[in-house]
């Protein structure tokens, strides 16, 4: 009985010992690889500040999928004021409506597929890249004004941007893009939908951090 107990305690001690030894080794190595996530952090969080000029505010999450390729998703509210973009100033009913009455609410959804030109062998998003972007912006207007309806804009864009590190963790990322858009305008009176194609552009300036 005593022998069994002794063996049991020994086995327990051994079990304790094994992870302890492994941990000492890995802690030592971790010191070398601890670079504040600069090479291993594949998650990034950022705020696109450029659209605030108009009426958007987008919070973006980016995740590296493979070496040189990452995906990012953005979401944000449409703010209740309106400074039209240059493209919106060129004609069309929706533009007039938007100028006359600022949207009361809405939201923006954005998805990007990014292809980096990484110099090193690292997977971290850094340096210049090309992107394919889909952006959906939904504008809701006040019910008081019967001329305004619900308008959704679908942008399909090709972009080029650069991720510039600011210190260990933070970075700034300007990006420009060109593409096409489809406006889906819903009349508040007849509930009819109208699809209007057009050209779209993108300028974003994101401030971000590696998680």
């Amino acid at each position: 009985m005593k022998t069994t107990k002794f063996l049991g305690v020994l086995a327990f001690l051994c079990l304790l010992q094994i992870p302890l030894t492994a941990q000492v080794d890995s802690t030592n190595l971790d010191e070398y690889f601890d670079d504040g996530g600069m090479s291993s952090s594949i998650h990034l969080l950022k705020i696109d500040v450029a659209p605030i000029l108009h009426n958007h505010f987008v919070l973006i999450y980016e995740r590296s999928l493979f070496r040189r390729m990452s995906i990012q998703l953005g979401v944000g509210p449409v703010l209740p004021y309106n400074i039209p973009t240059p493209i919106e100033l060129v004609g069309e009913d929706f533009v007039e409506r938007k100028i006359n009455s600022a949207p009361t609410s809405g939201f923006i959804l954005r998805g990007d597929l990014k292809f980096y030109y990484l110099e090193g062998s690292s997977q971290i998003p850094d340096g210049s890249y090309y992107s394919l972007t889909y952006r959906r912006t939904l504008y809701q207007f006040s019910d008081d004004n019967p001329t305004d309806g619900r308008t959704a804009i679908h942008d399909f864009l090709m972009g080029y941007g650069i991720v510039n590190s600011l210190g260990d963790r933070f970075y700034v990322e300007p990006c420009i893009g060109l593409g096409v858009l489809i406006k889906n305008v819903e009349s508040p009176v007849s509930a009819e939908r109208e699809l209007i194609p057009g050209f779209a552009y993108m300028f974003s300036l994101s401030l971000g951090t590696r998680l």
Partner: protein
Amino acid sequence: MKTTRHLTKLFALFILSAIIQPLVGQNLTKSTIFEGKGYQHLEEVLQTSEGFFAFRETGKFRTNFQDCFVDKLRPDLKIMATNQLKLERDKSDLLFVSAMSMNDKIYVFTSFPNMKKKIHYLFVQTLDQKNLVLNDDLKKIAELDFSESRGRGNYGAFSVIQSPNKKYFTVSQYLIDQAEGEQLLVFDSSIGLLGSFIHEVKDGSYTSFPAVTNDGKLYFAETESKEGKACTLYGYSSDGNLITQEELNYGLDDGYRYCLLRVMDENNIIIASQRRANDGYSSYVVDGFYTGVFNLKDNNFVYQLSENFEEDYIDRTPEPKPGKKQRSRRPDGIDDLLLREISTTPSGRVYLSFEQYSTFKKASTTTTRNGATGDTKTRTSYKTYYNFDDLLTVSISPKGEYEWTHRIKRNSMGPIDELDWMSYFGFVDGESYNYVYNDDPKNMEKDFDEVASQYRPYSLRSGINTVLISINNDGEGKRTEISNMKKDKIDFIPRHSVLMDDNSLMLFSRQRLTGLSVNMQKRKADLMYLRMTLD
């Protein structure tokens, strides 16, 4: 079902053998093909009791290799196993540095530049020779502080050099833009650190790569200042004590630059350098060489030799026309000549192998005109080309007397991804010195001795011939065609050849594809190892 499978395999083998058949000639005996996947680069070939191990890196871009593969080969080059080495830790990618065989084990050296700490670490792991996987026991053996380095991505590099008896190796670390203090480490074959010390490098000076002797001593040469005013040989014991500090006797006041060091045998090391014709002329003209053999036991030079190249091998500068002023006259010599290799034969003869190497930038200009304003804008872009020209061999007798010089006229050029393709592989076979390189087929029609390769194998489109030049101990050269790319459907990457034993050479080559652009050929072509019998 099984029969069909067997028949398919048999058919595939038949097709494969039909492809390989033209390669099986007098010299090229066997080959193994593996699938091409992007750009490929052969890093190391090691031999242990288990077989040959070839490390190759692949990448989707010309200069960016990311994945490292290891092939285990039999002496007949049959691939027994292939595996991709997992070079990563905590999701951070490691860079492949080199591989080394010691105590019948294979050690793989990798590095990780920590961008936050600004420290570049060097690690070592062993490779399981059966499964071709790296063990988990990653061990840090060196670190390089690159916080002071200029330029993005300049995190320096490590060089790992082994003693001839494979009992010791040294790690030296250097930054690309500066060499203010070089840390040198000496390890034994069980990766035990014997000594670590810092050699202060004077501003503007250059140090050669170190040589490790069979008892773990470390030697290197330092050339002071860009003009090469003086060159000193330093020797350190494995625990870091200075044991030798000897100024080399060039016989001239200045004009030397990069030195090469090799361990010659148990008692001697050999140092050599090209001699610059320093006459206030800005570009690099070489008119001679220096060689010294240093005895490790006596701590003294056995001989030192500083010689001009013979008149016949020097390119003369025409005399200026009378009455015409010349600001700085090009000295007589050979332009851009670099000492590439020091080799010794079994009898103690020393061969110095030089290559003319230079780069030049080719400008292309585009002019755009603004329709509205009428303004024109000119934009010039530059592309760098690399010239690998004449090969020069110098023979020094075992007694330290100059014997002869041999110059091979050559004219090759290529962009950066063709460096390995355009340069050469040199090796000693018995008492002869041999070169393998790619040449233009038109040069084959010319007599090798009178030569002047006027044609450069610039493009894969025009076709290339791989040649073996053998120079005997009397300085007489003989040319043998190894392969004709158009006929054999392969092209060689000579720089990555390896001597397998006394009479065979392993060559790395690509299979030629037709109907594709040159760039696509390089990316898509299957690669193969070929064994060439030298006799």
